[in-house]
């Protein structure tokens, strides 16, 4: 698993020029996500990080086909194993969700069926997609519960979701998502609702199970530290755009976009208690009337006149590391 997947290999998931919009009363569109592209290769844990309103969750929901009513994909493609997820008919998607792609939600209580024993819920997928008998699927469900580290799995399989604590529920969600060994697991802030000691357990479990099953992850969170613990590559999103993309270690060591840098300076780092936190002044731009140039320019300490005009495409800083800042050379001093 430690082998770096060459960028030239066919990606498992390839999101191309995705734009997501919300129609407004006057006929115009509020753009929640604007022209983003990223690739997730097999077995890679990929993070999408950003603050509220950055479009990270909408991106994930578009991939999973779970966009809220009214919100629509305006442009773009999301290729997964040779098919475009965004245009495929519902019956085709149903055959993919589960065996090839699965999703873990932030709040397991609203994602689990409250009237059904958790063992049955986990067994549903394998019965339907892997063609297992009722008995074999039930056994697999108990085995999955055991692998998520829940003690006394046979008894827990007969529990209803409300009888379990938040941490156990999230483990059941993970067991359910991984029961058919999907190639890709989508996670939407899976540990945000959990306490810190339980979050630690669940993150370790998720990493370990994905490793065992060879599943790739696409992990959405606002927490920079959680990304650092879980992912190997990431995209930093702001106002519906990807501002920087690269390997987690490289980006954390030397961010190459002023927004990423500012985000790190504002975030408390447990290992640097004496560093002053520097807030980012101002507010994110309006989604209905985005600035023509770089969306971060109004809040950027390095901004010059040219930042407010023209498209700001992602450009290569070094191998596998891209930044949407066209002054990256002047600001961060060349290619080091």
């Amino acid at each position: 698993m430690a082998v770096a997947v060459p960028e030239t290999a066919e990606p498992l998931l390839s999101v191309q020029h995705l734009s997501i919009g919300l129609p407004r009363r006057d006929g115009s569109w509020a753009l929640l996500v604007r022209d983003i592209s990223f690739d997730v290769h097999a077995g890679v844990r990929y993070g999408l990080v950003g603050e509220s309103g950055s479009g990270k969750s909408m991106t994930l929901k578009a991939i999973a086909g779970l966009l809220p009513r009214g919100v629509a994909v305006m442009e773009g493609e999301a290729w997964f194993e040779g098919e475009d997820l965004l245009t495929m008919p519902a019956h085709r998607r149903r055959r993919i969700m589960g065996p090839r792609m699965a999703m873990i939600f932030q709040e397991p209580m609203t994602a689990l069926n409250p009237t059904m024993r958790v063992g049955k819920q986990i067994a549903e997928g394998p019965r339907r997609h892997l063609g297992l008998s009722k008995q074999a699927a039930d056994e697999l469900a108990i085995e999955m519960i055991r692998r998520t580290g829940i003690p006394d799995p046979a008894r827990r399989a007969r529990a209803y979701p409300h009888e379990l604590s938040g941490g156990l529920r999230q483990r059941v969600m993970i067991a359910m998502a991984l029961s058919c060994k999907p190639a890709l697991v989508l996670c939407d802030e899976p540990t945000t609702a959990l306490d810190v000691t339980v979050q630690d357990q669940v993150l370790r479990l998720l990493a370990q199970l994905c490793e065992e099953m060879g599943s790739a992850l696409t992990f959405v969170t606002h927490d920079l530290a959680v990304i650092s613990q879980t992912c190997s590559r990431l995209s930093v999103m702001y106002a519906g755009r990807i501002m920087e993309k690269g390997g987690v270690r490289e980006v954390y060591r030397a961010p190459r976009h002023p927004y990423t840098e500012a985000l790190f300076q504002s975030a408390p780092d447990f290992d640097e208690p004496h560093r002053d936190l520097v807030p980012i002044p101002g507010l994110p731009p309006s989604l209905t009337n985005p600035p023509p140039g770089c969306p971060f320019a109004p809040r950027c300490r390095y901004a010059v006149e040219a930042c407010n005009a023209g498209p700001k495409p992602l450009t290569r800083v070094r191998e596998g590391h891209l930044s949407a800042c066209d002054r990256v050379g002047q600001i961060f001093g060349g290619d080091s």
Partner: protein, 338 residues
């Protein structure tokens, strides 16, 4: 910046317990014997997982709920939930979600002016002047007074909630998770605001949070709660560099870090807190404790002095080494490979 500790307690609780009656005669022990002192001019952090009783303690201090047993002391005098207007003014609260704690149909001006009028903080003809002062205190423009709460961002709304708490000129501010609902880039501004309020107004603050990285940046002293008890109290630096209670050690080891860490290692703490209805015998942490001894099942440890200004409720405190290697502040690069 550190407050001068003159051992002058502004607010203290002694042997506070809060029990809720439960079906079938069983009792939920939300708080079970808590002693804690807030010094004048200090920011005291209160950390712990959900269900540890931190918010219940805050409510008892603010007088919005009564305790089952124990005493709350203000300046050394016992106070109850039946407080006079003067006493209610002295202790104010700031909540996690500023949107649900502000009236959406009231302009900021009328919401704040109402507080000033009811408590007769200033004469009527000076209300406008006082409102302007409050706005500048929390770093907002005077124009903000004529807007509704929904017109503000989360960080600005929290500033308004803080301005309302400050309107009655309190001596103690109790902030229950005041930055948890805010984006990272805004959190720092609110933390800065708390710091400057302490410096300018000499406020004493109880800052409740679950995020240790945030707490570490602001507070002078920290109390760690577990299942209705305080298990360790120390100065911030001491708590993070030499935690004595095994629960504190595990809590610190569980904090997600910016630096690489080895996820192959087992988690620092197994399981989840047991139910406060059916508490374990002896030390209530023993079922999850890696160091538990037979005696831990029998004896319920009290907070004992383990260092200067440092107390812990563990019989083996001072003799335990943190189990996890992750606890060390520096970690070598590249442990975690994909």
């Amino acid at each position: 910046m550190r407050a001068t500790n003159t051992n002058d307690a502004v607010l203290a609780v002694e042997g506070i317990a809060k029990h809720y009656g439960h079906r079938l005669g069983s009792t939920l022990r939300a708080l079970d014997g808590v002693d804690l002192t807030l010094q004048r001019g200090e920011i005291l952090g209160l950390v712990g997982e959900s269900g540890s009783g931190k918010s219940t303690l805050a409510k008892i201090l603010a007088g919005s709920t009564g305790q089952t047993t124990g005493r709350v002391l203000y300046d050394g005098n016992e106070i109850t939930t039946r407080r006079g207007s003067a006493m209610r003014r002295r202790i104010q609260m700031v909540f996690q979600d500023p949107y649900s704690s502000l009236n959406p149909r009231m302009r900021v001006r009328s919401a704040l002016a109402e507080v000033l009028r009811v408590h007769r903080i200033v004469p009527r003809n000076e209300i406008d002047q006082e409102l302007a002062r409050l706005m500048s205190l929390v770093g907002l423009d005077e124009g903000a007074l004529d807007a509704y709460p929904s017109q503000f961002s989360g960080g600005q709304r929290q500033r308004i909630a803080i301005a309302r708490a400050l309107a009655v000129r309190p001596e103690v501010l109790i902030a229950d998770e005041p930055v948890s609902a805010l984006d990272v880039s805004v959190q720092a501004t609110i933390l800065d605001l708390f710091r400057s309020l302490r410096a300018e107004l000499g406020l004493s603050m109880l800052f409740i949070a679950h995020n240790l990285a945030v707490v570490q940046h602001l507070v002078d002293r920290i109390a760690v709660m577990y299942l209705g008890r305080i298990v360790e109290v120390a100065k911030t630096e001491a708590l993070f560099t030499s935690p004595q209670h095994p629960y504190t050690q595990a809590l610190i080891a569980s904090v997600p870090r910016m630096r690489p860490r080895d996820l192959e290692q087992p988690a620092a703490l197994e399981g989840e807190p047991p139910s406060p209805i059916d508490l374990p015998s002896g030390c209530r942490f023993h079922p999850r404790c890696a160091h538990a001894q037979p005696s831990c099942l029998a004896e319920d440890p009290a907070l004992e002095q383990v260092g200067e200004d440092h107390t812990a409720a563990c019989r083996y405190a001072g003799r335990l080494q943190p189990r996890s290697i992750d606890h060390q502040r520096s970690t070598s690069e590249g442990l975690f490979v994909v």
